[in-house]
Symmetry: C2
Subunit: 453 residues, 2 copies
Amino acid sequence: MTAERPKVVIVGAGFGGLTAVQSLARVPVDVTIIDRHNYHYFQPLLYQVATAALSPADIAWPIRGILRRQKNTAVLLADVTGIDADARMVHAGSVTIPYDYLVLATGATHSYFGHPEWASVAPGLKQIEDATSIRRKVLLAFEHAELTEDHDEQRRLLTFVVVGGGPTGVEMAGAIAEVAHHALPSEFRRIDPHAARVILIEAGPRLLPAFPEDLSAYARQALERMGVEVRTLARVTSCDETGVDLEETRIDAGTIIWAAGVVASPAAEWLGAERDRAGRVMVGPDLKVPGRPEIFVIGDTAAAADATGKPVPGIAPAAKQMGRYVAEVIASKVEDKTPPGPFRYRHQGDLATIGRKAAVVKLKSIHLTGFIGWLFWGFAHVYFLIGLRNRAVVAFSWLWNYLTYQRGARLIVDSPAAQTMARNEKIRPLPGSVEASHGPGRDQARSDRADWR
Amino acid sequence: MTAERPKVVIVGAGFGGLTAVQSLARVPVDVTIIDRHNYHYFQPLLYQVATAALSPADIAWPIRGILRRQKNTAVLLADVTGIDADARMVHAGSVTIPYDYLVLATGATHSYFGHPEWASVAPGLKQIEDATSIRRKVLLAFEHAELTEDHDEQRRLLTFVVVGGGPTGVEMAGAIAEVAHHALPSEFRRIDPHAARVILIEAGPRLLPAFPEDLSAYARQALERMGVEVRTLARVTSCDETGVDLEETRIDAGTIIWAAGVVASPAAEWLGAERDRAGRVMVGPDLKVPGRPEIFVIGDTAAAADATGKPVPGIAPAAKQMGRYVAEVIASKVEDKTPPGPFRYRHQGDLATIGRKAAVVKLKSIHLTGFIGWLFWGFAHVYFLIGLRNRAVVAFSWLWNYLTYQRGARLIVDSPAAQTMARNEKIRPLPGSVEASHGPGRDQARSDRADWR
């Protein structure tokens, strides 16, 4: 490495950014990758962390570890605060990083369609922290329900609403139903987790709109067989701490999970660049920002069109292909070779899992469902994990869950859980006196004195 | 279960409490176990979570899961706030739980010898949250050091002080040295993790005072071979955010870990009972609180003497034996049988690990060290884990760490890490202008412009 080599700065170590970095391994440039986290994570399995099947470390890898042998690359844990495109500088608080080429791969976050106040009551699932906080919320709902004697409140706590019928919503709804109906029933004495309701709300006419209709129909059937209530053509008009309002009805719920919309990270704002309605930067056919030939935007942050004119979808394989492509463009510049033609997206297929022995897979003209689809989904996901260790641990955890119905990662951590419960801040006031506040369990006769048992 | 059966309430699901519950499985009583967490965890391996070798879920199990087949038992997630011994009631906020027999197994926490203000700068290692927060602190020290250009600050950030030379202190010091000297060196570009200093401070004349002298001496040698600086007969007189003061010297350090003292949980206060200097409840030979034949105190919360008059040590096997014993006493009362004699503690041995291929084991007259000791330690700990799943995952993770020197759980989560770094709140102000704040790495020539690379 000499000071003369071009500096490539990549912001974001998701699928797009990390692939770009790795594709530059043998190019004579100095790469700096900046991320807010010290890890890259496998977002397609985040819902399994949220539903206690996997631990965060099973689906995440330290970025430094992944890149430790890539000598032309430095990793920087920092939060980018702005870009000075004229001076070619990335600002991360008091730290400034100069670049010759800049790749923005900062991803997307939840969109609440103009209602940011819903975020606190209806968390989305984009980050590891989102997953552990949803896990905490779901598990605490059962704990709170076990503790309260108010039957309406119990019913509310055991109602889980998932908003959004895309792959994340379908996977979350299926996984919560499995937790409630298979993993937990033998563990509670006063409530029956079987009675938990899981409601999946989709504004459009069918689940998984990106999939063919037969697979959408299968997904709905499979979810309903698992006890999930599916409501299509249903629009959420408001969310609060005790439930959601649809256009014509209200659902009292203890847990609301938001899987409905995404909005791009503020890369367009940093650049003052043109953006689409979802906040994504409008990029040219070579993924460059118009007027800034040294700045690329890839992944969920980019509004890109394929060479054929079709919009590139916001999924992991697309982000990876874009990362590989911009590395090629940069390499061709640096090594003074012919640049590649415009970006071409190759769609490999669509996968979504529903639950135990149920998934939908579309590969070109092949449609798979049921056990075969589920096996395909499982092998594909294990294959795309990074490193032998996590593949082994995830495969083992899945086999274990499959055989035992148990979930290994059911911890409520970093939570003021118990305190909150004991001090009764989150559960509604219990009827009756302070002392005599607890009724008998469902398999116990009511004794004279109403106490804990 | 009928309302007539005696009610046993057990507070705390650590080794003592959980063993007591399990030993009551076939006794005709109704058991309620209350814990602040929804999980039981294996405290002897907490330091491995703190040093990124294992994930929290590898050493923790949902209490409900462990007890799901034990039909006479209910689990309550709540924080006990007091006990009304005359009315035989446990208070947990607004919830009140009546008992006929009460077992207090609430454990211990760190003691800062009258300096509670040290807690914020020198975290101890008792809870899962402590372990993830120490992990975050240790990993961020390396990240901050990579980012700063101030060489004194870098040296300070790469200095780790562990206070207390008992098993936890020895294990933490060894594990941090392994992280710094084996797992991380290839991953940083500007700092050399090899240069990290790990300093273990012990007030007494030797490490592991509970072990025979030859094993203490071996532990010291093994740590020193791993690059740990051991300072015995050294007393900490103050701790602050930038380091520790000993009687005659000051050590600037970025991370201080407290493994020096413990104090019992407030069970004695709840009872208004006589306590010893460490806050433990003085119990009789049958582990009962004097004057309260229906209240037992066990584990680290109890100051108990063996039938032979020797104090019972605050270790897991002792807590388990006490748990089993009180279950026997309660069963004898309930079933109207002869009660067992006074509690007899059987000491099975002492184990502590130091690092890769180094541990000390004392079993009666057998002393093991080195690779053999390490293997014995590993097998013993895997054996004592609960459930096949966690045994398999822990054994696999250890094998993996052993073969690759990599640590699988190196995530910095739930942290304002990046923000803190970028906003420069925790690292000292960098010299030079805002823009030109970063010097070249250790293997790079200094360029004209002082920037990130």
